[in-house]
Symmetry: C2
Subunit: 726 residues, 2 copies
C-alpha cells in the first residue's frame, strides 16, 4: 500500500490513521493509547499536588530540594533511570523592601498580602517568599512619580506627545501589556531611576470577578512576584551566559551581568498603589490607560514623590533538575524530551504543580506500559526543572551544559507548565502541527462529548474565526525557550485554560484550595493534559517515520512574511499620514490649547524594502514541501527510514544560525524569538521584523538577506529528504 507520509492522516478518510505509522502500527498504537488512558488516575494528581504545594518551594529552599528528591524516587519506582542534575545559579533573596510616598503626603506601602479564611496556606507568614521582582538591582532612589500605563514602547510614544519625560523620575506601571521585565528595562532606557509595577484591579482584580477568597481574582493585597531578568537578551543563570552553571564554571562579575536590571523595581498590590496614584496630578491619562481603581488616573510627574529602597542577598543556590530516562527499545539515541518545572514562587499549586503532576502521572502510566512489555522505541527523557521562575534557569543551564548531545539526539521537546479548565492551547514548531492536530482530535474533552480539538474549533468559530486547529508561535515564558530558540530542537508547549482565570498567578494565593475551587476542580483537565502530552510523546517515540510535516510549516512562514511586509507598508502609510497632518498643522489645531503639547515633527519616510529574496525563498520552499509530501514512505527500507528520521529530527536546526539574532546571539532561531521589547510575546521572523519595527532599514535589508539564506538552506535540506527514495 502506498501511503504518502504526510498525506496519511491529513486525508481524513481513515479515522484510524496516524501520521508516521503504517496502518498496522497505528492500530497497535491506538490500543497502547487506550491502555495508557485507562491507567491515568486523577487521584494521583490530587495527592501529589497536595504534597508538592504544601510549602513554598522556590529555588534553593529545602522544600524544593525535597520535592526533587521525592520526584526522583517516584520516577525510579516507575522504572526510570533518574538522577538529579544540579547547577549553582545566582539567586537574589529580598532583604530590604521599602516603598514610601514622601510627598504630598506620607504613605508607607505594606507590601504584604493578607491571609484569607479557608486557606491555611496563606497564613504561613514568614515562610512565604516576600513579594519582589527577581533580578532587580539593589538601589535606594527617591523621585517624583510618573504613571506610564503598561510601560511598553507605545506608552512612551504617548508620553512624548504630551511632552512628559521620565528622566530622573520613578515610574509606576501596571502589570500586563507585556512581560514584566520589559517595564524596568524600557524605563531605564528612558532615563527613569526606579520602577514600580502594580496589579490594577482591571486586569486581574475585582473588575474581572470576585476576589479571593470569595472568587478566584486578586484581592487588594495580592502581589504578583516574578523575574525581571532581561531574558530577551539571554535566559538562565545571569553569570554564565551560554554555558552550564556547573560548580566550577567561570562566572561573570555580578556587576557586569547584563541581564540584571539597571534600576530597582518592585511589584506592589493595588491597595498599595492606590494612594500613590491618587496623589498624582498632571494630565488625565487617556481612556485606554485607565484602570479600575476608583480614582481619576493622572500621569504626573508628581506631586507624588516616592522613595524605593531595595537590597538583595545575592548568593549561588543549587538548582536541582530531575532527569528521568526510559531507554528506547529500538532507537536509544533518539530522545523525546518532556519537561515541566517544579520550582514555584510560593506554593505554586497552579504554576507549576498542576502541570508537573500531570507530567508525572503521564510518566507513571508510560512506565507501567513499559513494564508490561510496551517499552517505547525511542528514549524518553522526563525532566522536572528547577529555577524556572527566576529566569528559565534550570532548563537553560541543562541545555547549555548538554548542547552537543542534545543537538545530536533530541527528536523534540514537549513542555507543559500551569494547567486549568478550558480549551487546549498549543504553541510550537509548525512542522509538528499536523501531528498535534491529530492527537487533539483523539483526546476527549472532559466536559463535552467531543474531542479537545473540536471544542477548541467551536470556540474559534464563536469568535468569528473559521481557522482549523493551528499552533501558535512560541515566544518565551517557560522552559521550551532553550530547546527551540537556543538549541534548535523542535518543541511544543501545551496546556488547557480559558475557564480557569484568576488573579493568583505568582501570589501567596496560588494554593491547593484555590486551585481545586477555581482552576480545575476534580483534576479533569490535568488528566486531559496527561492524555494529550502522553499521546504526543508516545507517537513521537514509536513512529516508524517521525511525524514532521512541513506543509503547515511552510504555509505559516509564508503568512509571517506577508505580515512583515504588511507591517512595513502600514508603517509607511502611518508616517505619510502623520507627515500630512503635521504639514497641515492639524495636530496643533485639533489640540486643546489649554493643555500644552510639543509640536509634532515630520518623521523620516519609510523606504520600500526589497523583500524579493524572502519571497523567492518562500516560493521555492513551497515547491520543495510539495515534493516531500509525495514521498512514499511505506516502501522505504529500514535503513532508508533511519536515514529519513535522522534528517527529520534535525530539520529544525536548519532554521538556526550560529551567530544568532542581532545584539542577542544566544537566540539562534531565525523564525521564532521572544520580542526584544515584548518579552514573552513572540516575534516571528524576528531579525527582519524587529529591524522594521525599530526603523533600522539597513539592518532590515541585511536580515532579509540572512533569513533568505536560512530559508534557502532549509529548501536544500528538504531536497535531501526528498532524495530518500525507495
Amino acid at each position: 500500500m502506498i501511503t504518502g507520509l504526510f498525506l496519511l492522516a491529513a486525508s481524513g478518510l481513515n479515522a484510524q490513521a496516524i501520521s508516521g505509522f503504517s496502518p498496522e502500527a497505528a492500530k497497535k498504537q491506538r490500543q497502547l493509547e487506550a491502555t495508557f488512558d485507562e491507567s491515568l488516575k486523577k487521584e494521583n494528581l490530587d495527592a501529589w499536588m497536595q504534597r508538592m504545594a504544601a510549602e513554598p518551594h522556590w529555588v534553593g529552599t529545602d522544600y524544593g530540594a525535597e520535592n526533587a528528591r521525592w520526584m526522583k524516587e517516584q520516577f525510579e519506582s516507575w522504572g526510570y533511570d533518574a538522577r538529579i542534575d544540579t547547577y549553582q545559579v545566582l539567586f537574589p533573596y529580598p532583604r530590604v523592601r521599602l516603598l514610601e510616598m514622601t510627598a504630598p503626603e506620607r504613605y508607607t506601602a505594606t507590601l504584604e498580602a493578607v491571609a484569607v479564611e479557608g486557606d491555611p496556606y496563606t497564613a504561613q507568614g514568614e515562610a512565604l517568599l516576600p513579594s519582589y521582582n527577581a533580578f532587580s538591582t539593589d538601589g535606594d532612589v527617591e523621585a517624583e512619580l510618573v504613571f506610564v500605563n503598561y510601560g511598553v514602547p507605545s506608552d512612551y510614544e504617548e508620553l512624548e506627545k504630551l511632552g512628559i519625560d521620565v528622566r530622573g523620575k520613578i515610574v509606576i506601571a501596571k502589570y500586563y501589556g507585556s512581560w514584566r521585565g520589559i517595564k524596568p528595562k524600557l524605563a531605564a532606557e528612558k532615563g527613569a531611576i526606579g520602577c514600580i509595577i502594580y496589579s490594577d484591579p482591571e486586569d486581574d482584580g475585582y473588575y474581572q470577578g470576585d476576589v479571593y477568597p470569595e472568587g478566584a481574582f486578586k484581592n487588594s493585597t495580592g502581589v504578583q512576584r516574578g523575574s525581571v531578568m532581561d531574558m530577551p537578551l539571554y535566559p538562565g543563570d545571569v553569570l554564565t551566559p551560554g554555558y552550564g552553571a556547573t560548580e566550577d564554571a567561570d562566572r561573570l562579575d555580578r556587576q557586569e551581568a547584563p541581564t540584571i536590571t539597571k534600576i530597582p523595581v518592585l511589584p506592589i498590590s493595588y491597595a498599595d498603589a492606590e494612594p500613590l496614584l491618587r496623589a498624582l496630578q498632571g494630565p488625565v491619562a487617556q481612556a485606554s490607560w485607565r484602570g479600575a481603581l476608583p480614582l481619576t488616573y493622572h500621569i504626573g510627574p508628581g506631586p507624588a514623590r516616592v522613595r524605593l529602597k531595595l537590597e538583595f542577598e545575592w548568593s549561588l543556590q543549587p538548582a536541582h533538575n530531575v532527569i528521568a530516562t526510559l531507554k528506547g527499545s529500538e532507537f536509544p539515541d533518539q530522545w523525546v524530551i518532556r519537561g515541566n518545572h517544579h520550582d514555584a514562587w510560593v506554593h505554586g499549586a497552579s504554576d507549576p504543580v498542576s502541570g508537573m503532576v500531570a507530567l508525572m502521572e503521564e510518566a507513571r502510566a508510560v512506565g507501567q506500559l513499559a513494564k508490561k512489555g510496551n517499552r517505547p522505541k525511542r528514549t524518553l527523557v522526563y525532566c522536572a526543572w528547577d529555577a524556572e521562575e527566576p529566569g528559565l534557569i534550570g532548563s537553560t543551564e541543562w541545555v547549555e551544559d548538554h548542547l552537543p548531545e542534545l543537538r545530536e539526539k533530541a527528536v523534540a521537546y514537549v513542555n507543559t507548565d500551569g494547567n486549568g479548565r478550558g480549551f487546549l492551547g498549543v504553541g510550537g514548531s509548525h512542522s509538528l502541527q499536523t501531528m498535534v492536530s491529530e492527537v487533539a482530535g483523539d483526546v476527549p474533552d472532559p466536559q463535552t462529548d467531543v474531542s479537545v480539538k473540536e471544542r477548541r474549533i467551536a470556540a474559534q468559530l464563536t469568535r468569528g474565526s473559521d481557522a482549523d486547529f493551528e499552533l501558535s508561535a512560541l515566544g518565551s515564558g517557560s522552559d521550551y525557550t532553550p530547546f527551540i530558540q537556543h538549541a534548535g530542537i523542535a518543541s511544543l508547549n501545551l496546556g488547557f485554560g480559558g475557564e480557569s482565570s484568576g488573579g493568583e498567578y505568582h501570589t501567596i494565593y496560588d494554593t491547593y484550595p484555590h486551585y481545586t475551587r477555581f482552576k480545575d476542580p476534580g483534576f479533569q483537565y490535568g488528566v486531559a493534559l496527561a492524555k494529550t502530552a502522553g499521546r504526543i510523546v508516545l507517537r513521537l517515540a514509536n513512529a516508524e517515520v517521525l511525524p514532521f510535516d512541513f506543509k503547515p510549516w511552510q504555509a505559516t512562514v509564508s503568512g509571517y512574511l506577508d505580515e512583515v511586509m504588511e507591517t512595513a507598508d502600514k508603517l509607511r502609510k502611518e508616517v505619510e499620514q502623520h507627515n500630512k497632518l503635521v504639514a497641515r498643522n492639524a495636530y496643533t489645531l485639533a489640540a486643546d490649547p489649554t493643555k500644552p503639547m510639543p509640536k509634532p515633527e515630520i518623521k523620516a519616510a519609510v523606504p520600500y524594502l526589497d523583500f524579493s529574496p524572502l519571497q523567492n525563498a518562500v516560493a521555492s520552499l513551497k515547491d520543495r514541501v510539495e515534493e516531500v509530501s509525495k514521498l512514499d514512505t511505506a516502501s522505504l527500507s529500514k535503513a532508508q527510514k533511519e536515514r529519513l528520521n535522522q534528517l527529520l529530527m534535525h530539520a529544525e536546526q536548519q532554521l538556526t544560525s550560529p551567530e544568532g539574532l542581532p545584539r542577542r546571539s544566544w537566540y539562534k532561531h531565525q523564525i521564532y524569538a521572544p520580542g526584544f521589547y515584548t518579552g514573552y510575546g513572540v516575534k516571528t521572523l524576528p531579525g527582519v521584523r524587529e529591524a522594521i519595527e525599530q526603523k533600522n532599514w539597513e539592518e532590515a535589508e541585511s536580515q532579509i538577506e540572512k533569513l533568505a539564506g536560512t530559508l534557502n538552506g532549509m529548501a536544500e535540506y528538504l531536497r535531501k529528504i526528498q532524495e530518500v527514495q525507495p
Copy 2:
C-alpha cells in the same frame, strides 16, 4: 455675469462669495457681518447668565416666569415686538421618592447631592428641584434587582443569551448608551416593574476626570435629572398630542396618556448605586457592561431586593414662551426662526442658559443693526422656549398651535442649547449644509488663528477622517424636533463643545461657577456661537435667493440608502453565521458548562429586499439636482426670484407625509427621526431602517414603496424649481 446659484460659493475661487447673494450684495452682507461681530460683548453673556441662572427655574417656577418677563423686556428694548405665549402643560413634581434595599442588607438611598465648597448655588437646599425623572408614573414596587447595563435592546439580547428574564424584577441601568427614556420604556416592555437609572463614574464621574468641585465631573452624589416621557412617540404636553395646550384645549385623561412611563423610574447617584450593585450576585457582567465602581459587576437577579416608591404632584403649569419678532423690510411673511429654551432643571448655567444668552446677544446686535438702518429683509422670530426639559413642551405646543402659519411662512428654524469650549457641531437639513459650511469658514475660532470650520476639519483629520465639513442628521433632544420632524421646516441645531465635558448635566452642579471654570471661561465660545448663528440668520434673512443646496442633500440621502442596504446585508450574514454555528453546536461546545445557558435557536433567515424603487428614486434625484444646480439665478426677474424662494422655503415639507411614521404619526419627516429605541439618537430613512432593524419585512417593503414615493415627489418638486427660468 452668470453665476449658478449653488456653484457660487462652492467654487472657492472667490473667497468673498456667499451662496444666494450677488457679488455686490455679498460685499454689503460682509460689511454688515463685520459690524455685527464688533458689537458682540462677552460681558453681556456673563451678566445675563449670572442673572438667569441665579435660582432654579424649571417650568412653573416663579423664577422661570420672571426670566421670561425679563427677556421679553430685553427684546423690546432692542427693538423687537415681543410677547409671551403661554400654554398650560402637565408637569409632575416629585412628592415622595423612596428607594431602599430590603435584602440582603438594608440600605436607604439618600437621593441628595451635597453642596460643595466654592459654589454657593449648590447650597440652596430646598429650593433645588429634587432629583427625579419627569413623567415617570407613580408607583410602589418591590422586587429583586437585575443589572441591565445601559438597558438598550442589545443588552436584553445578551440577557436572553444568559437565560435571565427581568419579568417581575426591578432593573438598574446606567445612564448613557441611549436617551434615558428608552430605559424604562424597554424595561416595561420586557416585563420589569420598576427601573433605576444611575450615573456610573465611568461615564461622567472620576473615571473621566477630577470631580466637582476639584474638576468638572460628577462627584459621588450628583444625580442627573431628566424626562422619561416617551418622546419617540410624540413630544410636548402629554395630554394634548398634536395640538396646542391652550387653556381651553381638550385634554386626555392622564391615566390614558401614552407617553407617561408604564413603570416607576428614578435616577440615582453612584454613591447610592454602589451598595445595590455590590449586593448583586449571579453571572459576572461581560466586560463591556462593567463600569468604574470598585466592585465586581454582577447581573443578578438578586439577592438584592429593592423597594421603589414614587408619588408625583400632577398639575397643569404655565409654560411661558417668549416670542420676539423683527419684521422683515422686504419679505415680512418669510420667517427665519431662531430659538433656545430658557427653562432648566436646576440653575442650568450651561443647559440652557449658555445658549440662551448667546441667542440674546445675537438678537441685541441684530436689533442694533436694524436701528441703524440695516433691518433684515425677512422677518426674524427669536424664541425663548419654556418647558423644554420635561419634553420639548414649550416649543412643541407653540408649533402645534401655529402649524398652518408656520408651514406657510417659515424659511428655516435655527436652534441652539447648551454651549461650551471646543469644536463647532451642526446638525440639520442637508439642503443647508453648503450655507452652514460657508458660515463656518467665516467665523474665527477663538483659540486658534483659523476658522471654526478649519479647526473642526483638523480634528476630523486627526481622527483619520478626511471628510469635509458636514452636517449630522437630527434625532431629538432639543427644540428643533417639532419644527423639522413635525412641521417639515428646514432646521439646524448648532453649538460648540468637545473641550468642555463634565458631569454637571441636569444636576445641581450646573451653575455659574462650574460653567465659568470648566465650560467656557471668558464666554469666548458663547460669542463664537452668536457669530455663527447670527451669520446663519442674517444670510437666511437677506439672501436674494435662499441658500438651499440640494446636492449635499442628495448625496447624504444616497449615503443613507447605502447604509440601510448594508444593514440588511449585515443582518442577513449575522443570521446565516448564527445559524451555521447553531447547526454545528458551536455555541454550546464553546460555552463554559458550569455556567448554564439556554441553547441558542435557529433564527429565521433575512430575506433579500427589493430596494430598487429607492435606488431609482435616488438616481433620478441625482439627475434633478444636477439640473437645478445649473440654474442661472442672476438673470432671474424679481418675481421669478420670489417664485423660486417660495419653492425653496417649502422644499423640506415635501419630505414629510401626512400619515407620518408607522405607530407614531406625529413624526411626519421621512428622512430624519429620533429612533424608536434610541430616543435622541437619529434614525435616517426611519420607516425603512427601523422596519429592517425590527425584522418586520412586510413593513420594510411597504416603507420602501412609501419612501420611494416621497423621494419621487421631491424629484418632481425639484423639477418645478428647475423650471423657474429667466
